[in-house]
């Protein structure tokens, strides 16, 4: 086993604080260091191993800390782990933990991570994120999740209080990137065993993050204050962070303008251009690691027409992505000609012919391809587009209906509420359906793995060459060219209609600093933020 420091950040982590709020030269701190963050829905769970949504993760990153954190540019920096070693076969990681404390003063030990990881994989916990351990390729994870092996057999072991060993079944190039995810956070065993399911209530919750939970009114707000037991509390500037639920985005915006909120990371649809004009110092759009697409049902239950590559190409060509992005969404999104979000770390833009043509050329080619496939005025192609209830999805579906009408395709729109839409997708009860995928970690495999034969892949695309490329990527020294080739293959086979890459059109108070401007995951840490005097 060789001692390796793979990232410069980790080496630096030995000498200086990992990453902390640090006012720039000449910046004067405001007297009041508070931040009110808008969230759309109630926080469903503050249990790191039961949470399933993004807003919950945002809160959990303040209340707990994993082995690694992300900095404002998305680079992985040390969290509880001060350094680590990896074995030559890349299957064993050994993490050395720093002196850190829980908010009740107990030390954070390797055993707390072991307990947390076993807990999420244990069928008794019934965590909806148990699959995360499988994604990380932790040894025995699939068997533990299935209940075939005991949680104690999971590939994680405390060598001593400060040394943690993780064993994998396959080299996992993105492993470090998964270690900032709440599913991998440690858990306070004593508290959980004493309090049961209610351990996350304010007053009971014990965390190891930079903040502690003072108050939580479901559907109203969660109030967090600085945790003095946090190892880097000396460099934490914001004293109070509130997660304020406002179910209506327009009211959220009004309340932000009235000064009740400081950060709204999704402005109401269509408002962003106006906000940019009126509040140029507050309206910002940042890339966000999700991609929007229309999926083809390529399974046996899908329409025969879609099994013809020419038809799929025609449908993809005919979609005018510029209109969708510039006229419908207007929030800084980018047109998509491939699947992986363009800003994903380590992603090389593939060479996609279609992206270089003008829209007129695309439409012309689409018409020719459809005619070649045997469709025309006498025998028009009829398809249904399924989408889930939302004004935005509806607007896009109507636009696509028009684009496809131009090439002679008759489209029927089918709208379902979210759960029904998802259920139909998973049972291949659709023809063409609206879909979006968000990255689990900042590396292209989180996107491209979706279309593997054994991936989530609701349209049931299957291509042996594609699967092989992705298997090769797992062990490649530099997987980037392989991901690029995979994307090119995906579009050559037109497994989907890529539509756009997400962006977050936001409103952020001008005096708030330290929020992630260039982290496509948009994971943020209040401990890195501060407010300057205006």
């Amino acid at each position: 086993m060789t001692r390796l420091f793979l990232t410069t950040a980790l080496v630096m982590g030995l000498a200086v604080p990992a990453f902390a709020a640090k006012p720039a030269e000449g910046e004067k701190l405001a007297d009041k260091q508070e931040m009110n963050y808008w969230i759309l829905d109630a926080l469903k769970s503050l249990d790191p191993h039961k949470n399933t949504d993004r807003e919950g993760s945002d809160a959990l990153r303040q209340l707990f800390e994993g082995l690694m954190n992300e900095d404002i540019n998305g680079a992985m920096v040390p969290g509880v782990a001060e350094s680590y070693e990896v074995s030559d076969d890349k299957l064993v990681y050994t993490f050395h933990l720093r002196d850190a404390k829980w908010s009740n003063g107990d030390p954070v030990t390797a055993g707390d991570f072991v307990y947390g990881w076993r807990r999420i994989a244990d069928p008794a916990t019934a965590s909806e994120y148990a699959w995360f351990m499988e994604l990380m390729n932790v040894e025995n994870a699939p068997a533990v999740v299935k209940g075939e092996k005991k949680p104690e057999e999971l590939g994680i072991k405390a060598i001593d209080d400060k040394t943690l060993e993780v064993r994998l079944t396959a080299p996992t190039p993105y492993l470090l990137k998964t270690l900032a995810h709440p599913s991998t956070f440690p858990a306070p065993q004593k508290v959980i065993e004493a309090e049961g399911d209610n351990w996350t209530e304010a007053g009971k919750l014990v965390g190891n993050g930079a903040y502690k939970l003072d108050q939580h009114d479901l559907g109203v707000q969660a109030v967090l204050s600085k945790n003095d037991n946090y190892w880097d509390a000396a460099n934490t500037i914001l004293t109070t962070v509130r997660f304020v639920t406002v179910n209506d985005q327009n009211i959220g915006l009004t309340r932000l303008l009235a000064g009740e909120l400081d950060w709204m990371d999704r402005t109401p649809a269509g408002q962003f251009p106006r906000l940019q004009q009126e509040y140029p110092d507050q309206a910002v759009s940042v890339p966000d690691a999700c991609s929007y697409a229309y999926l083809f049902n390529l399974s046996d239950k899908g329409p025969e027409a879609l099994k013809d590559l020419r038809v799929r190409q025609a449908l993809s060509y005919a979609v005018d992505r510029d209109i969708i992005v510039d006229k419908v969404l207007q929030g800084g999104q980018k047109p998509a000609y491939w699947w992986t979000h363009w800003a994903t770390e380590g992603f090389q833009a593939p060479d996609i012919e279609m992206s270089k043509w003008t829209q007129a050329e695309r439409v012309e080619k689409a018409k020719a391809l459809l005619a070649e496939a045997g469709y025309g005025p006498d025998k028009p192609l009829k398809l249904s587009i399924q989408y889930n209830t939302s004004d935005d999805h509806k607007k896009l579906a109507v636009a696509v209906q028009q684009f496809w009408k131009q090439i002679g395709v008759q489209v029927e729109l089918a709208n379902y509420e979210w759960k029904v839409h998802t259920d139909r997708l998973q049972n291949q009860d659709f023809e063409v359906a609206r879909y979006a995928w968000c990255a689990d970690y900042n590396e292209p495999s989180t996107f491209v793995d979706y279309f593997r034969t054994d991936g989530y892949n609701n349209g049931k695309f299957s291509n042996a060459d594609y699967d092989k490329l992705l298997n090769d990527a797992k062990t490649a020294a530099d997987p980037a060219p392989i991901y690029k080739a995979a994307e090119e293959l995906l579009i050559k086979e037109m497994a989907l209609v890529p539509v756009y890459h997400y962006a977050k059109p936001m409103m952020v108070k001008a005096d708030l600093r330290g929020w992630p401007k260039a982290n496509v995951m948009n994971d943020w840490y209040a401990k890195d933020m501060y407010r300057v005097a205006e």
Partner: protein, 305 residues
């Protein structure tokens, strides 16, 4: 009278049971489940979840277990979507909130609505009547999902007088109360006015006036009580609707009430929360229709149980 009350309460039990069974069946008929999500769960994880929540039992056993939990332990089960909380906790946190703003809104709606209706009726076809009718029609046609954002815009952004949402002291109650009471107030005013007009033209009022009673006494002592009968039959269900909250109010003012939880639970297939709130609303509806019947007997001497 007591026999009547007992009989009604005895009927309430099978009614509630029927409500539970029907809601259960309807819920299961809806496609998707609490754990349906964009990223399909691996089958073994789904199986673990179903086992944990007892969803792998046959339907009849789930219903029996559920009813037994309520009868034996007053336990409405764990929430599927809020894994840290039980349904009892969710209702215990949210119901006092809707009860507060709903109760105040009810009092406001009745006080203002009845006053407007009576004023309009006794000053029929004068400008007062036109104003009152105009006001109530205006209040009726302005839906609360339009009014709520306008209230926040005016009182929070422009004037800066009231917090735009959240829950705390009385200052947080004002906008929810206005938004919730307006349309009820309008309905009450309309019903009161037409009922009052009818009563005012009846024989016993003519007699009261003929024996020289002052108009004030005629209205308050002889006309108001019978005129209230149709209003009260409206108020029973209206009261339950108001205290169990409104989605719009909860959504726009982030009150944390159970109105929003109810709709959310249906959309998220949070079976347990949905059942819990359905039973709460059902039980309250049964209770208050009984109260309405008793009030009838008190107001109208002709009614005897």
């Amino acid at each position: 009278m007591f026999g009547f009350i007992l009989r009604r309460l005895a009927v309430a039990i099978p009614t509630l049971l029927l409500l539970i069974v029907l809601s259960f069946l309807l819920m299961y008929a809806a496609p998707g489940g609490p754990f349906t999500q964009e990223r399909a769960l691996p089958p073994q994880v789904l199986a673990n979840l179903n086992a944990k929540y007892g969803l792998d039992d046959p339907l009849w056993r789930q219903i029996v277990n559920y009813v037994w939990g309520i009868v034996a332990h007053f336990d409405f089960g764990p929430s599927f979507i809020y894994p840290d909380r039980s349904v009892n906790q969710i209702i215990a946190a949210g119901f006092p909130i809707t009860l507060t703003y709903g109760g105040i809104a009810f009092v406001v709606a009745v006080a203002v609505g009845v006053s407007l209706g009576v004023t309009a009726a006794i000053r029929q076809n004068t400008w007062l009547d036109y104003c009152a009718v105009g006001l109530s029609i205006g209040a009726q046609v302005l839906p609360n999902f339009v009014m709520a954002p306008i209230l926040v815009l005016v009182f929070t952004l422009w004037l800066g007088w009231l917090p735009g949402g959240g829950w705390g002291g009385p200052i947080f109650w004002i906008m929810p109360v206005i938004a919730l009471s307006t349309s009820f107030m309008a309905s009450i005013a309309r019903i009161t006015r037409s009922s009052m007009l009818e009563v005012l033209s009846s024989n016993h009022i003519r007699t009261a006036r003929a024996k020289g009673l002052p108009e004030r006494a005629v209205i308050l002592r002889h006309a108001l009580k019978p005129a209230m009968l149709p209003v009260i039959s409206y108020l029973g269900p209206a009261f339950v609707t108001m205290i169990t909250g409104s989605v719009v109010v909860d959504m726009y003012f982030s009150t944390g009430g159970i109105g929003r939880s109810f709709v959310d639970s249906a959309l998220n297939r949070d079976y347990a929360v949905m059942m819990g709130i359905t039973i709460l609303v059902g039980a309250l509806t049964i209770l208050f229709s009984l109260v309405v019947d008793l009030l009838y007997a008190w107001i109208d001497p002709k009614i005897r149980y």
